[in-house]
Amino acid sequence: MSAHDDVHQTHDQRQMSRETPRSGAALDHVLQVASSLQTAMNSVIEGKPAAVRTVVTALLAEGHVLIEDVPGVGKTMLAKTLARCIDASVRRVQFTPDLLPSDITGVSVYNQDVRDFEFRPGAIFANVVVGDEINRASPKTQSALLESMEEAQVTVDGTTYSLPRPFMVLATQNPIEMEGTYPLPEAQRDRFMARISMGYPSARSEVDMLDQHGGRSPLEDLRPVTDAGTVTQMIEAVRSVYASAALKQYVVDVTQATRTSSALRLGASPRASLHLLRASRAHAALAGRDHVLPDDVQAVTVPVLAHRLMLTGESQLAHRTAADVLTDLLQRVRVPAPTR
C-alpha cells in the first residue's frame, strides 16, 4: 500500500471521526499529553516556552521545524529534548560537506547470502530526525533529505519505502556562519512548516541554567512522556479540529496579502496556506478548542510564514524583518465575517 493511499485513508478516518462524539475526548487527550510534553521540555529548555510550544504545534500538525540561530543557544538541545520526550525511533544526522545522499536515504547493497541487493535504510528512517547544521551539507544531500520530508517516503533504485509515522525533521542551521555553508534555497525552506529562532535566554534563565546544567546533561534525567502511537493519535485528533469557511477565507487572505505586499519580493506559497491552516488547527487543539479561531492563525503566522518570504531591497535597507512585515499585514487584513 502506497503512502498516497495512506493519506487518503486517514482523510476518510478524519471524516468519520468528526461525526463521532469521541472527538471531544480525543482532544482532551491531546491537551493532556501535549501539556505534559511541554512541561518536560521546558524543564530542559529554560525560559523558552514559546519555542517549545511552536515545536509541539508543528509536531501535532505533522510539520518539520527549522531551528535557526547563532551557535550555543540550544538549538540542538531543543531538537534532542523533543526526540527524548517521545518514546520513538530517533536518528541524529550531523550534516557535513562530505555527507552523501545515500547516507540519508539508505543504499542497496549486494547480499552475498541471498545473492540479491538488499536495502539498508539511511538516517531518515526514524520517527524524529535531528538534522544538525543542515546548511553544511551539499545541496545534493540537502535535497535528498528535503524530498523525503515532503513525501514521507524514500525511493531508492526504483523501490519506494514509506517512512514511519509520525515523521518529523528538526533541522538546525547557523545563519551567520557563511564560510563553507550551502544556505537552503527558498524552495527548500518552504518545506519546513515553521522556523524558530531561539534567541538568548534571559539573565535569570541563564543563571538557572548554570545552576542545573553544571553537572551533567539534563537530558539524561528526561523520561519519555509519550510514544509514537500516541503522537499519531494526537495528529489524527488535531486533523479533526473544525475550520469554518470564514476562517479558511482568512487564511487565504493572509497569504494573499503577503503576495501583494509591496515590502515583499516573494510571498507565501499555496503550500504555506496549507501549513498555516494545519498549524492553526494544532494551535487551537493546544488551547483545548475543537474549532480554529483567527487568533490561532495570527499566533502561528510569523513562525509558519516568515522563513518563506523574501524582502525587497527597500525593506532590507530599512532593516525590517519578515516578521515585522507579517505583523503589519496582520494588523491590516480584515477578519472576514461569514458571508450570506
Binding site: A246, H291, L293, D295, Q298, R334, P338
Partner: protein, 769 residues
C-alpha cells in the same frame, strides 16, 4: 504651467462685466457701460502682460491699479491731465468734484437715477475696483473662490437698490463665469498632480482628469439650475423673524427704532409690510383707539406735509381740552411698556388728557400734535373716549385754531372737479356736517372701493392709455388704494363741504396677545379728523376692510336713514374687503373683548404658524437618523435566518454603535481582540466586561465553531455593553451618538441607492445602446 493665465483673466473680466450689468436697472441710460468696459479690459490686459514678465503678485496688482487709475483719468478728466498724458493734482481734484456730484445725485433720486457725468465716473471707479479685486484675487493670487466674495458684493449693490428683485438673467451670467473661472483653475491644479495611471491605460485614449472635469461641470450646471429653479418653486414669504412674537424681553432694543414718515406720498405703493414691533401697551378699555403720531394739514401735489414745528412746551399732566366737557365720555388709561418710536415722534391717543413721560418734556405745535426730545421707553397716558350723541355734532361754536388762517380748507386744485362731482353725487343738498361725514364714510367703505396696498397704474377708462393724473384723481377713478388715499379723499371732500378737516397719521391699536397690545410697523395708518365745536377734532374711518376694523359708532349712519347704494357700514365692517391683502388676524378694533381674549392662544399659534412648522419640522428631522438606524438594526435582525446570523447582526450593530461614540476596533482585529480593545476603550466595569466576553465567545461560536453548535442570544448583553459604554461618555458624545448614528446614515444611503438603482440601470442600458 502658464503664468500668464489669459483664459482666467478673460473669465474674470467677463464675470466683472456681468456683475456690473444689473446696474442698468438703477440708472436711466447705459452710457456708463462703454467706459466701465474699457477699464475692465485695461485691467485684464495689464494683468496678463505683467504676469507674463514673471513679476511678484503684488507688483502685478499695483501695476493694474495704476493702469486702472490712468484709464479712468484719461476717460473722464482729459482736460486736467499734466501735459495731456499724466494725471496730476488737478485731475484728482476734478474727479473729486465729479464724485461729489454723483453723491448728490444718488441722494436726491431713487432708481432709476439720471446718468450724469459724475455718476459715470463713480460707476467706472467702482467697476474698475471690482475688476481689480477679482483679477488680483481670482487670477494673480489664484483663489477664485475668494474672488466670488468681491463679485457677490458688487452684485448685492444692484440687487438691494433695485427695489424689486433682479431678473434671474442678471444672476446667471456672473455665476456662470465665476464657476468657469473656478473650474479652469481647479483643473489646472488637478492636472499638475502626478498620477500612477498612465494615459489610456483603460483602453480608451483619454485624459484621466477629464472624468473629474466632467463631474465638476455637471455639478456646476446642476447647482446653477437649482439656484434658478428653487426660488421659482418655493413660495415667496413675507420677511419674518424666527423669534417674532416668541419670548421677547420687555426692554429688548434689538429691533432698532422706527420713525413714521410724516411726508405722506399718495403715489407710492405700500409694499413693505414690516412686522417689526413698535409699541406694546396695556389698556383699560376693551376697544382701544388708534394712536396718533402726527397731524398733516397741507396737501400739495400728491404729498401731505405739516408746516408747523413743535416749539411750545406743555404741562403733560393737564392738557387743554377742545370742545364741550359735558359730552358723555369714558376715561381710558394706556400703559406703554415698550416704545421703539424714534424721538421726536411719540404715539399718543386722542383726545389726550394727561401723560406721564417721566422727566422728558412734551412739546406741542400749532395744530396740536405732540413731540418729545428724547426717546421714551415707557409712558402712561390718560384720554377720553367720547360717546357723542347726534346733538353734540352741532356746528354752533368756534372754529379750530388756524381756521381763520385757512389751513383747514385748502382744496387740491387738480382733483377739485372730480371731488366736487363725488360730493354732489353722495351728499344731498342741505345735509348737516355730521350727515355729510357719515354719508362720505359709508360711500368710501362701500363695495365700490377696493382696499389694496398695490396702487394700480392709472389708465384712462375710455382710451385704455396710461393716464398721468394727480394721485387723488387716480384714486377716485380706480377706486383702489389704502388708508392714505381713502383718508385724503375724505378730507378733501369734507373741505369742499366747508367742514374743517385734516389728516392724522399714527398706528392702529395693534394685535392683542397676552393681556397687551402689540403695534407693528405694518399697523401704520392714516385717518381723517373733522372739527366739531362741541367735540373738538373727531376721528372718522373711511378706509374699508378688516384691517381698520369698525368705524366709530357716531360716524355710522343710523340704520333707518341708511342710503341704499352702499352696504350697511356694520355689515361692511364685519365682512372682509374683497382684495384686502392683509392677514385676517391683524383685524383689530371692532372685535369684542371676549373674542379677543379667548382667541389669544389660538391667535398666537396662527401668528407663528410658520415658525411653529419650522420648529416642529426641525425637531422631526432630528429623528430622521435615529429612526433610520433603529429600522436598520431591526431589519438586519429580522433578516437573520438562524441564530448565527442573528448574533452576527447584533455584533455588527454593537460595533457600529460603539463607533458612534468614537470607539472602534482596529482594522485587522479578530473578534476576541476587538472585544478586549472595545472593553478597554469603553472603560467597561466588571459586569459589562463579562457581558462583552460572553458576546465575543458567542460570536466566535457563531462564526468558527462546527455547525449545529449551541448559540445563545446576546441581545441583552449587547444592550448592557452599549448602555455601560454610553454612560461612561460625556454628554456631548452621548447626544451625538444618539442623534447621528452611523447606522442611520447607512440606512439612508441604502434607501437612496435603492431608489436610484432603477434609473441607473435604465441609464446604463441607454448608454450601451
Amino acid at each position: 504651467m502658464n503664468r500668464t493665465r489669459p483664459l482666467e483673466a478673460l473669465l474674470a473680466a467677463l464675470a466683472t462685466l456681468a456683475v456690473a450689468l444689473p446696474l442698468l436697472t438703477l440708472f436711466d441710460s447705459n452710457t456708463w457701460v462703454r467706459p466701465a468696459g474699457l477699464v475692465i479690459v485695461t485691467i485684464a490686459l495689464v494683468g496678463v502682460g505683467l504676469r507674463s514678465l514673471a513679476l511678484s503678485a503684488w507688483v502685478v496688482i499695483l501695476g493694474q491699479a495704476v493702469a486702472g487709475f490712468l484709464a479712468i483719468s484719461w476717460l473722464h478728466g482729459r482736460g486736467h491731465l499734466l501735459g495731456g498724458l499724466l494725471p496730476g493734482p488737478d485731475s484728482v481734484h476734478a474727479l473729486g468734484i465729479l464724485l461729489g456730484e454723483a453723491r448728490e445725485t444718488v441722494m436726491a433720486f431713487s432708481a432709476p437715477v439720471p446718468t450724469e457725468r459724475g455718476i459715470i465716473v463713480a460707476i467706472t471707479i467702482l467697476v474698475g475696483f471690482t475688476a481689480l479685486v477679482v483679477d488680483a484675487v481670482g487670477v494673480t493670487l489664484r483663489s477664485p473662490a475668494l474672488a466670488g466674495l468681491a463679485l457677490l458684493t458688487a452684485y448685492l449693490v444692484s440687487a438691494t437698490n433695485s427695489g424689486d428683485g433682479l431678473s434671474w438673467k442678471y444672476f446667471i451670467l456672473p455665476i456662470a463665469f465665476w464657476l468657469a473661472l473656478l473650474a479652469t483653475q481647479g483643473l489646472g491644479v488637478v492636472r499638475r498632480w502626478s498620477t500612477t495611471v498612465p494615459r489610456g491605460s483603460d483602453g480608451a485614449d483619454h485624459d484621466p482628469v477629464l472624468g473629474v472635469a466632467g463631474t465638476a461641470r455637471l455639478l456646476g450646471a446642476g447647482t446653477l439650475a437649482l439656484a434658478i429653479v428653487l426660488p421659482m418653486v418655493v413660495p415667496h414669504l413675507p420677511t419674518t423673524f424666527l423669534a417674532d412674537g416668541l419670548g421677547r424681553a420687555d426692554n429688548a432694543r434689538g429691533g432698532g427704532s422706527i420713525t413714521l414718515n410724516t411726508t405722506v406720498d399718495l403715489r407710492r405703493s405700500l409694499e413693505d409690510q414690516s412686522q417689526t414691533p413698535v409699541i406694546s401697551y396695556r389698556t383699560t378699555t376693551t376697544s382701544p383707539d388708534p394712536l396718533r403720531v402726527a397731524i398733516l394739514t397741507d396737501y400739495r401735489r400728491g404729498e401731505w406735509s405739516t408746516g408747523f414745528t413743535a416749539g411750545r412746551n406743555v404741562q403733560p399732566d393737564s392738557i387743554a381740552q377742545d370742545g364741550d366737557p359735558s359730552v358723555k365720555r369714558t376715561p381710558v388709561r394706556i400703559d406703554v411698556t415698550e416704545n421703539r418710536l424714534q424721538a421726536p415722534q411719540i404715539a399718543l391717543p386722542s383726545p389726550l388728557q394727561n401723560v406721564d413721560l417721566g422727566d422728558v418734556p412734551l412739546r406741542t405745535n400749532f395744530v396740536g400734535s405732540f413731540e418729545v426730545d428724547r426717546n421714551v421707553g415707557e409712558y402712561t397716558a390718560n384720554y377720553n373716549q367720547l360717546q357723542p350723541t347726534t346733538g353734540d355734532f352741532s356746528t354752533d361754536g368756534p372754529g379750530p385754531r388756524g381756521w381763520d388762517e385757512g389751513i383747514y380748507n385748502e382744496i387740491d386744485g387738480e382733483s377739485f372737479e372730480r371731488l366736487q362731482e363725488l360730493v354732489n353725487n353722495v351728499v344731498p343738498e342741505g345735509s348737516t356736517p355730521l350727515e355729510t361725514a357719515r354719508l362720505l364714510q359709508a360711500h368710501f367703505r362701500s363695495s365700490q372701493y377696493t382696499y389694496s396696498l398695490q396702487l394700480p397704474t392709472p389708465t384712462d377708462p375710455v382710451s385704455g392709455r396710461t393716464m398721468m393724473a394727480d394721485p387723488l384723481s387716480n384714486f377716485l377713478v380706480s377706486r383702489t388704494g389704502y388708508c392714505v388715499q381713502f383718508a385724503s379723499a375724505f378730507v378733501m371732500a369734507a373741505r369742499i363741504k366747508g367742514i374743517p378737516a385734516r389728516l392724522a397719521i399714527g398706528f392702529l391699536p395693534g394685535t392683542f396677545a397676552n393681556a397687551s397690545y402689540t403695534v407693528r410697523a405694518a399697523d401704520a395708518h392714516a385717518w381723517p379728523e373733522l372739527w366739531f365745536p362741541d367735540l373738538g377734532w373727531t376721528r372718522f374711518e373711511p378706509t374699508p376692510g378688516v384691517r381698520t376694523g369698525g368705524a366709530p359708532t357716531y360716524s355710522l349712519i343710523p340704520t333707518e336713514v341708511g342710503p341704499t347704494e352702499s352696504a350697511s357700514p356694520t355689515a361692511s365692517s364685519s365682512a372682509p374687503a374683497p382684495t384686502a391683502s392683509e392677514r385676517p388676524d391683524s383685524d383689530t378694533g371692532s372685535v369684542g373683548p371676549t373674542t379677543t381674549s379667548t382667541s389669544g392662544p389660538f391667535r398666537w399659534i396662527t401668528d407663528n404658524l410658520l415658525t411653529l412648522v419650522v420648529i416642529v419640522a426641525a425637531l422631526l428631522s432630528l429623528l430622521l437618523l435615529p429612526v433610520a438606524a433603529w429600522v436598520r438594526r431591526r431589519r438586519l435582525r429580522k433578516a437573520a435566518r438562524d441564530d448565527a446570523e442573528r448574533v452576527e447582526a447584533d455584533w455588527a450593530s454593537l460595533i457600529s454603535r460603539l463607533g458612534d461614540i468614537g470607539i472602534a476596533p482596529p482594522d485587522g482585529s479578530t473578534p476576541r481582540q476587538a472585544g478586549t480593545r472595545l472593553a478597554h476603550d469603553a472603560i467597561l466595569s466588571a459586569e459589562p466586561k463579562a457581558a462583552m466576553g460572553r458576546i465575543v465567545s458567542t460570536v466566535e461560536q457563531a462564526r468558527y465553531a462546527p455547525p449545529h453548535a449551541q448559540i445563545p442570544d446576546v441581545s441583552t448583553d449587547t444592550r448592557a455593553v452599549w448602555r455601560a459604554a454610553l454612560s461612561a461618555r460625556q454628554r456631548g458624545d452621548r447626544v451625538r451618538a444618539l442623534l447621528i448614528p452611523a447606522d442611520g446614515l447607512r440606512q439612508w444611503r441604502d434607501v437612496v441607492d435603492g431608489t436610484l438603482a432603477w434609473p441607473r440601470r435604465a441609464w446604463s442600458r441607454l448608454r450601451r445602446r
